[in-house]
């Protein structure tokens, strides 16, 4: 066998590195598209119905929500009457709560961010930030004609306790189909499923989301979006303390 020429070796490495960088870039582009699809990709106003299933009870909430399509959103509970008036304002990584009974708003401390949102399987952390894009390195794990699967592994020092997240999306539209969170022992601990997509200027927005706690049997949360309007102009005043307390008109 002829010895490999140094030039060829260097060329091969360069090709490999370029391919890797390209694949990485592709994975990052895909995850960005998936998240944009998941969030609607642009400003919007919605009615959200959330049903929380526990082994011994079931509770339902109706909320209105506005979002600027990026990192700002306002959610207000309108039913049941017992919880009506509660509101949640997210700006970047900051989250404020308003309690109508106390007539007080407070900024959620970091210690409260993993608390359950209205007793559901969704945490306040899920409401704020775009941690899937910022905290993980994405790689394409597999691809078929119908679906593409990405594996997200935490970056160094990234503030996540998960070992990896596996995201499955439609191979054509990159509409998110499923996100499975794994612990560091390769055990699935949480699954989020997406369905009932609507087209929002080319983005596939899921209007039905199910969050399943895989560690506690029978615990899941179902979220349905209705009365949605995308690409609307959301006033700046909707993302303020006044809107948190008295609503966004």
């Amino acid at each position: 066998m002829k010895p490999m020429k140094p030039f060829v070796t260097v060329l091969n490495i360069l090709v490999l590195l370029t391919t890797f960088a390209h694949a990485q870039s592709d994975a990052n582009t895909i995850i960005n598209t998936i998240i944009d699809n998941q969030r609607g990709g642009q400003s919007g106003r919605f009615t959200v119905t959330m049903t929380v299933f526990k082994p011994d009870k079931e509770s339902s909430f109706t909320m209105t929500s506005v979002s600027d399509g990026n990192d700002r959103s306002l959610i207000q509970v309108i039913a049941p009457p017992r919880d009506a008036g509660q509101a949640f304002l997210t700006i970047d990584n900051n989250l404020w709560l308003y309690n109508p009974r106390l007539k007080r708003s407070l900024r959620l401390p970091p210690s409260g961010r993993s608390d359950s949102f209205l007793g559901s399987d969704i945490s306040y952390n899920d409401l704020a930030g775009r941690d899937l894009q910022t905290d993980y390195t994405a790689a394409v794990a597999s691809e078929t004609a119908e679906t593409i699967t990405l594996e997200l592994t935490p970056k160094e020092l990234a503030p996540t306790p998960y070992g990896k997240i596996v995201i499955t999306a439609d191979a054509q539209s990159y509409a998110p189909l499923e996100q499975v969170y794994f612990d560091q022992r390769d055990q699935a601990v949480r699954r989020i499923s997406f369905a009932n997509f609507v087209d929002v200027d080319g983005a596939a927005f899921p209007t039905h989301i199910e969050v399943e706690n895989l560690l506690r049997e029978g615990e899941r949360t179902v979220v349905d979006f209705s009365d949605y309007a995308f690409g609307i102009e959301v006033p700046e005043s909707c993302f303020s303390q006044e809107a948190l307390e008295s609503g966004c008109q």
Binding site: N93, N94, P109, P110, S111, G112, R113, S114, D135, P154, E156, L157, A158, P159, T160, P161, Y162, G163, Y181, F182, D183, Q184, V189, R190, L215
Partner: protein, 425 residues
Amino acid sequence: MSATTSKPLITNQLPSGRNAGTASLYRLAWRNIWRQKRRTALLIIVVAYASLSTIFFWGITDGQVASVVSNQARFLIAPALITTTRYQDDLDPENALPDLAFTAGLNDIAGVRGSAPRIDFPALLRSPYTSETALVRGIDPALEPQVSDIPEKITQGRMLQDRGEVVLGRELAESIDVRLGERLAIDASALDGPQAAGLRVVGLIDSHIDAVDQNTVLIHLDDARALTGVTTATGVALDIARGQEKAVAARVQEQLPEDLGAYDVLTLLGAISQDLDNNVISMIPIGLLFAIFAALAVTSTVLVSVMERSRELGMMASIGLAPGRLAWMVVFEALFATTVGWLVGLALGYSLNWIFGTWNILGPIFAAASDSFSSYGFGDEFYAVSKPIYALYASVTILFAGIFATFIPARKVAGLEPVNAMRDE
């Protein structure tokens, strides 16, 4: 030959009448206690045991306090800590040290053996399964071993070396279900907003002290700075020899800028320190019970002695020794025997305390006997303490023995009818 006949009862030195010297009574009482060697030996053993128990009891009681304070100093706080005065009122990172320039000459102050900067701050620890709030400590891995024994108690993994690592108390790790080598997310409220980091668990601490094993979170000082926004430290821990904390902290205080304070471990413990003092005070009734039981044993033995000697006591009274002086003689007998027992007890008690204060014999026994010891903050090291005042505590037995002997056997002797007494067999 019977012990009762080993020495003559009545000699030419027998005091007579009310003018007889008290010194003669002493001599007579002293001679009498050695006439009944077995009974006197029993008395001495009882009192020696009571004295030994009293000294050992207080050695252990004070040893408990010393153990808790020592563990607080070596594991939880520090022998002494320098912070801003504001920080002592409000343990918030915004009250951190303004700069660390003062640390340059710290180790030159007499009594300061080492120093290490720290950042303490509240945070949320998240695993995939649960979350828990904790007080996180940012440390310099190179300096911390100078002021803390925690690095020696890392039983799995290793001590921190670099950023991105965390060392946890074993029980805390179990409660949030995170294992060695796994990632843990930490959320904190920084001076300029929320911050978070994911750190890998590199070591688990098993100190057998609940407060340490259930609460300790050590991260690199630079990670703590990133999470809190504090660029200096919330405090500088000092290593000081045990027992010198207060004096050395006072010396350090003289060298510090006005808005900084040097606080010794007992000052930092505050209410806990007061609780420990109260616990010691609450032990006083138990110590008194020891003394009372021993004195009662002495009294009953003396009483039996008096009853057995009715005939000879009656004879002594009949030849002129007044009943009152006979009674004093009995009291002196009780006091002499008790004093000898006390001295023997002192020697044995202090020897025992020295042994248990030199070698960690009780720590492993207590740790193995019950988990509750770890909840009190004892750990697996426990040393007895010796203080001169224990001799005084033990002498309470003599006091009680004197009082009881005065009221019971001595009164019986004082009421003796010589004629009737001499008829007794």
